[in-house]
Point group: C4
Chain length 204, copies 4
């Protein structure tokens, strides 16, 4: 968590750094996909629009933008962190609404304005001190592919585009903004044998 209780916020653009950009430009062969055991996953990275939301962007006549998050996704994100998993958010757009909601949830790593998600996920892994092969990513659209192709465990939302679902090791049962993040967290915690531990906190 940042020194002031806000998430680490990094805005990465197309000139996000020569190293990453060069990697991208040279069609770097992904070293991900090496994970055979979900037990190794230490970090889950979520896209925002279409993943933590249903992809709708509400704009009013004053130019104010709103997003619709889902309360059970928020519960799952907090639960995952309370059980030791790290959670990050990586998005190509940039809105204050995202920072507000993620601060409420206590999410520590947030990159907005990322035009190259391969750069973005590598930056997050460095910040979090976690390897790419220990990282899962949940996406919905073409711009998520670069992150999905280099992380350890790529996942897609149920209503993701065909190209993205095709690259995913796991496709959630529900669409973005309607529990996809919850489903992904549940999928990983169950594979790690820890879901029951969460339920038992509430089932007295």
């Amino acid at each position: 968590m940042g020194t002031n209780g806000m998430p680490h916020v990094v805005h990465v653009g197309l000139n996000g750094g020569p190293t990453y950009w060069n990697v991208w430009a040279s069609k770097y062969v992904p070293t991900g996909h090496a994970v055979s055991n979900l037990a190794d996953i230490k970090l889950i990275v979520f896209d925002v629009d279409g993943v933590l939301t249903d992809g709708t962007i509400i704009v009013d006549d004053q130019g104010t933008e709103s997003k619709r998050f889902y309360v059970r996704d928020g519960f799952a994100i907090k639960a995952a962190m309370s059980m030791g998993l790290k959670v990050a958010v990586l998005t190509g757009r940039s809105t204050r609404a995202v920072a507000v909601r993620l601060t409420e949830l206590g999410v520590e790593y947030l990159i907005q304005g990322s035009h190259n998600k391969a750069v973005g996920i590598e930056t997050i892994c460095q910040m979090a001190g976690v390897g790419l092969e220990e990282t899962a990513y949940l996406g919905d659209d073409l711009v998520d592919l670069p992150a999905m192709l280099i992380c350890g465990y790529p996942m897609a939302v149920a209503d993701g585009v065909a190209e993205v679902r095709g690259e995913a090791k796991y496709v959630t049962a529900v669409p973005g903004g309607r529990g996809a993040a919850r489903d992904a967290v549940e999928h990983i915690l169950k594979a790690q044998g820890r879901w029951d531990e969460l339920v038992e906190r509430y089932a007295i």
Copy 2:
């Protein structure tokens, strides 16, 4: 109703009181589930997010949060109260939008910011002078389980999570925010033989 026409608002946190917290920590065996006759239900308690709403939380760039309620749920809540049933609302989050809407409906008992819903529902029962065994609760997610497991008649919304639906004596036919509260009220009033009385107010 509070002295100023607003609902009784109580914010209960994890330190909501040693008595309740001890009960919770010692895995108190629920004494609920003893009701065999819905005619004994005197109080209905609703969760907010995912029950009175569809679970979406709208956040704008100014950090203002909005919720979407359903007009027929509001009608049912007012109708239930007009027929002598007590209605309360118990939620883990805390927003002014909830207070605004519930004040409009005339709901008398509201607890926001409840991190332990076993504590919350017991507090509401004390405020309302109703026994836990005379109380129904409508929930959707894991955090609702502690309240559901100690009340007389636990109910779940159609799109509630599996663990919650599994503990419910009644699962509504429609999802949260789309008439689940209306369905629950109708279910109880019909079991009490009083639904026709309500319809006849309008069917001249």
Copy 3:
């Protein structure tokens, strides 16, 4: 249209007038349902929540309320008026959002805050100079029954409650807020042999 271009706005409460209220209290036998020919319909009255909207009420932390209307319903309302049908709106709640949207559409007759819709529809018919038997009404919930039972042609939205659908001479194919008003207008204009006239304005 009112002198300032705004709709005629009348707020009718439970004390809306002794004549109407007495009629209501004495279980006045409806004289409606006498229309055998939709060609006689001169006025269509719409409920708002659940009919012109999907029934959701959006409330923010400042207490500001929003409603979601449907653009094709608006088109149908304007088209109906352009072909000589009168259009009115009758709602039990009262919000400025409704006045704003209906003013944009040019709707001439609007009653908000109506707690007795039998009183409400009779008032509208007097304002519009149209008989109850020449009036159609589109509703969704129990509070609409008093208006439906005394008008010439009661209609219900596809997702209306069972009691309301049961009293309707026509149930729309689509739910409230998703084209139900459009469907009702189309239904009446087709029965009057005038729908093609509308389409031909656009099919050059």
Copy 4:
């Protein structure tokens, strides 16, 4: 792009110009529908309400209007322009929210307040220097028919009204506001053999 980075905004009313209006009034026989090869399409024109949105119009108590756009439609519009296709928007209503969102996407041609879409699409074609026969249009309601009937490639959204779907050469698989614009762009780029080129930008 306009001199200040905003889209070209033209408000065309019923008196949008004698030439166009005369054409319209005289039931001008459309010369469109002549395109046999989607490869000739150089310009895609989108309606707003019901096409770039799901047709809902959100109005609050201050009279502020909001619209809900879909992030994947925005991605497709930007992608189409990055591959050399021209994109325009033509709508009968007029809101600042549309200008805000389209400016963010970099859309160059925007006409709001168009009461005659035959006039509107001809004006856009002149601005863009593209022939009507090289222009595709995506609509949903009767008011879109005049534009659809004179352009080279009329398309309808999945939930468009029957009369509009009947005139379309292509009906999208998904409804307005939920990917219809994305589907239309994908349909055209695939027919032009260029979709894979887009995917390969992201599939390293």
